[in-house]
């Protein structure tokens, strides 16, 4: 099956077809929308899967949409990192979508269900399109699709706090999008190109008087994408939006959408500007060291804020702020080890955080409780979901043999290699705080007796607990068999650094 290898554009076109017809399916039969969306994600997942071999064989797969060669048309460019992102996106989306089946009928007005799945497919295809494109403006277009859909998904229940959070998210998101568009125009004014490798080449041969414009463009890109990624001082929108959204949506937003901001930074740093961009070397170094210190502070600040939360979903959301710090710190190390750690944490956090939010959703589904202190003794009544929570917590904290441990191991190794002992302290402190906030919940779940009688509380339906369990087992699997992916990620890092 080499259809997707010859035509990688199908990764976007197939879910787009399913999204375009989802409301029509909903008009015919509301209940069919779920299966329609599931089919869309499954087919795309299959196409992504068949792509892996091809990408690893040729390092980067390129496809000229419309047959126009790169600077003239839009080129789809799938490298190691792109296919890694696409696989993470399809895998997590698939499991979250299965979970949505019961959750959506429980939480949403019936007439909104078709549009919920339409938005789900749209956000899914936009994230895939974002990670595989090789054109900077095309990236902006896909970014806008997943931004607009995520504003709506946060507020889809129509609850008071959710609408408010969505508006705050929208203001921050739209402003950061504009910052990125502004950066694109600055970059275009001095390079005259929109294709990423072509911009990189043009920057290398640019007149030196234009260097400041490129530097300002870089700064605006970084600011814009760090807002999208919710890096610590600019994270203001995240806790509200991620905790007030319906839980499956929180899972998608926290596991995947904020990673898109990180991915954008990666693309800008390595594919667009590249290390060979010698003219900026001074400001480049400053920017990286500033960014890595900000990331290090984010690790501790996010984790510390999470410790003080009384609300379960707020706690999980603040934990995301901390983990974005880990990923960015790894990227800013600019060494294969550190970057591998960052990329691996991207996967580990996507699986673990999706699991935590889905479990939080399961508690809300059964009991309607959100406060951590209300979870007493639930471990005995909902053993699978609570067990999944404990297992995913291991990965979030970074205890062997989970995937989170592997990621942090590489991060620590990378910083030791660079002689940055301060970062080791930050990473370990972050893990310590993570242990505090995660195991507090685990303690309530398993080691306290419930004080109030909660009759009739039992395990959630299988379509809800199975995704949680699979995600949790995924963190374990990728911890035990890290050798499956680590070599490819190291190659990815080396290719980016070249």
């Amino acid at each position: 099956m080499s259809l997707s290898a010859t035509h990688p554009v199908l990764l976007v076109a197939v879910p787009l077809f399913f999204a375009a017809l989802c409301p029509v399916v909903g008009m015919w039969k509301r209940a069919a929308c779920f299966y329609w969306a599931l089919a869309g994600v499954a087919v795309t997942g299959f196409l992504t899967w068949t792509l892996i071999g091809k990408v690893t064989a040729s390092h980067a797969l390129t496809y000229n949409v419309g047959g126009w060669r790169p600077p003239f048309g839009i080129q789809i460019r799938i490298d190691y990192l792109g296919v890694f992102m696409a696989c993470t996106i399809t895998g997590v989306s698939m499991l979250v979508l299965v979970y949505c089946h019961r959750y959506a009928t429980h939480d949403l007005k019936p007439e909104r269900i078709p549009y919920f799945y339409t938005l789900f497919l749209l956000i899914f295809l936009a994230m895939i399109g974002f990670s595989i494109t090789g054109d900077i403006f095309n990236m902006f277009v896909f970014m806008e699709i997943f931004s607009i859909t995520s504003y709506a998904l946060v507020a889809i229940t129509g609850q008071k706090a959710a609408v408010r959070a969505a508006f705050k998210y929208l203001l921050m998101g739209a402003t950061s999008s504009l910052t990125i568009l502004l950066a694109i125009s600055f970059l275009y004014s001095v390079t005259g190109s929109l294709n990423m490798p072509d911009i990189s080449a043009r920057l290398g041969s640019m007149r030196s008087t234009y260097l400041p414009v490129a530097a300002v463009a870089l700064a605006f890109f970084v600011v814009g994408f760090t807002v999208k990624a919710a890096l610590f001082p600019l994270h203001g929108w995240l806790p509200d939006a991620h905790s007030m959204a319906p839980s499956p949506v929180s899972a998608i937003l926290s596991a995947l959408v904020i990673k898109m901001g990180v991915f954008g930074i990666l693309r800008i740093f390595f594919t667009v500007f590249g290390r060979s961009f010698s003219g900026l070397s001074a400001s480049w170094g400053t920017l990286l060291s500033v960014l890595s210190w900000v990331a290090a502070i984010a690790i501790v600040a996010g984790a510390a804020l999470a410790v003080f939360q009384k609300d379960l979903k707020y706690m999980i959301a603040y934990s995301s702020v901390s983990h974005i710090g880990y990923i960015l710190l790894g990227i800013c190390m600019l060494s294969p080890r550190g970057m591998t750690g960052g990329f691996y944490n991207l996967l580990a956090h996507a699986l673990g955080k999706a699991c935590l939010f889905l479990v939080a959703g399961a508690f809300i589904y059964k009991l309607g409780v959100r406060r951590i202190s209300d979870l007493k003794g639930l471990g005995r009544k909902m053993p699978v979901t609570a067990g999944a929570f404990a297992l995913a917590s291991l990965s979030i904290v970074g205890i062997p043999p989970s995937a989170g441990f592997v990621a942090k191991f590489y991060l620590v190794w990378g910083s030791l290699q660079k002689g940055q002992y301060a970062f080791v302290v930050f990473i370990l402190l972050g893990s310590l705080l993570a242990a505090v906030y995660c195991f507090r919940v685990v303690y309530y779940l398993f080691f306290t007796a419930s004080d109030g009688p909660a009759p009739g509380v039992d395990e959630v339906p299988v379509t809800m607990w199975a995704p949680c369990a699979l995600l949790a087992l995924g963190t374990l699997f990728f911890g035990l068999y890290s050798g499956l992916i680590i070599p490819s990620l190291q190659t990815a890092a080396r290719l980016l650094l070249r």
Binding site: A20, F72, R202, P212, A219
Partner: protein, 251 residues
């Protein structure tokens, strides 16, 4: 306090911004980097390669058609978002606050609208189909069609408008822009060339160009109809108010 902080941030951004525009290539220059790299080919070969005298149309439909597919997806996402937040109107029953007020629309407005609207729609169709040789195109025309239907809803009321443009007819048309792009793209795949390639292999030059202009027209029409209907649906969803909803159909 907050204001002072914001002003400081603004001052910082202003300094950076002014610094950048001071170093940017000058306006009106002919040999700036942006005009010497990709553009010459578009200008010299655009008409022949992309099949449109209006280079912009050539770029948005052909050279960068994938972006425009994304653009139609953006506006479809906006529609899905608005409907997910505000819900659809109910045919003949949903009303806006204007419909609920006792004041009748004045005869002048009705008469003017009756004469102007057909002309507006005609102009919109012209804009859609005439995007190749002159300014205009699917999206602009679609916006004008949408605006004319919105004017209809404002003058004759939401129940009348939802009766004339029922949901069952609008809903499938909303995705027509994306479907037009996908269908035309898949034709390319079937002929063994890349997605959204409009010059199909195996056809003689004249036929291939005719096929291309046909395919581009289908996309323009799709964007026009899809964009227009999406605007109408968004405005209908925003106009309706629950508290003014009628209990029975207004016949």
């Amino acid at each position: 306090m907050k204001k002072a902080l914001v002003l400081m941030a603004l001052a910082l951004i202003a300094v950076v911004f002014i610094y950048a525009i001071g170093k940017m290539p000058p306006m009106n220059g002919k040999d700036t980097p942006d005009k010497t790299h990709v553009v010459p080919r578009y200008l010299e070969k655009g008409e022949e390669e992309a099949g449109a005298r209006n280079i912009i149309t050539g770029i948005i439909l052909n050279y960068r058609g994938y972006d425009t597919m994304g653009e139609t997806t953006v506006i479809f996402s906006a529609l899905a978002a608005v409907i997910a937040l505000l819900d659809r109107e109910k045919r003949r029953r949903s009303r806006s606050s204007v419909d609920a007020s006792k004041v009748e629309t004045s005869t002048v407005v009705r008469t003017v609208a009756r004469f102007v609207l057909p002309v507006v729609v005609l102009f919109a169709v012209y804009t859609i189909l005439h995007g190749e040789p002159s300014a205009g195109g699917g999206f602009q025309g679609g916006a004008i069609i949408g605006a004319s239907i919105i004017i209809f809803a404002l003058v004759w009321g939401l129940p009348e408008a939802t009766d004339r443009m029922p949901l069952g007819a609008r809903l499938p048309l909303e995705s027509s822009a994306m479907l037009a792009f996908l269908a035309m793209g898949v034709i390319g795949l079937a002929y063994g060339v890349h997605f959204l390639t409009f010059i199909l292999p195996g056809l003689s030059a004249g036929v291939a160009e005719t096929v291309r202009s046909l395919m581009l027209t289908v996309i323009e029409a799709g964007i026009g109809v899809g964009g227009g209907i999406i605007f109408v649906s968004i405005v209908f969803a925003m106009m309706r108010e629950d508290r003014y909803e009628l209990q029975q159909d207004r016949k």
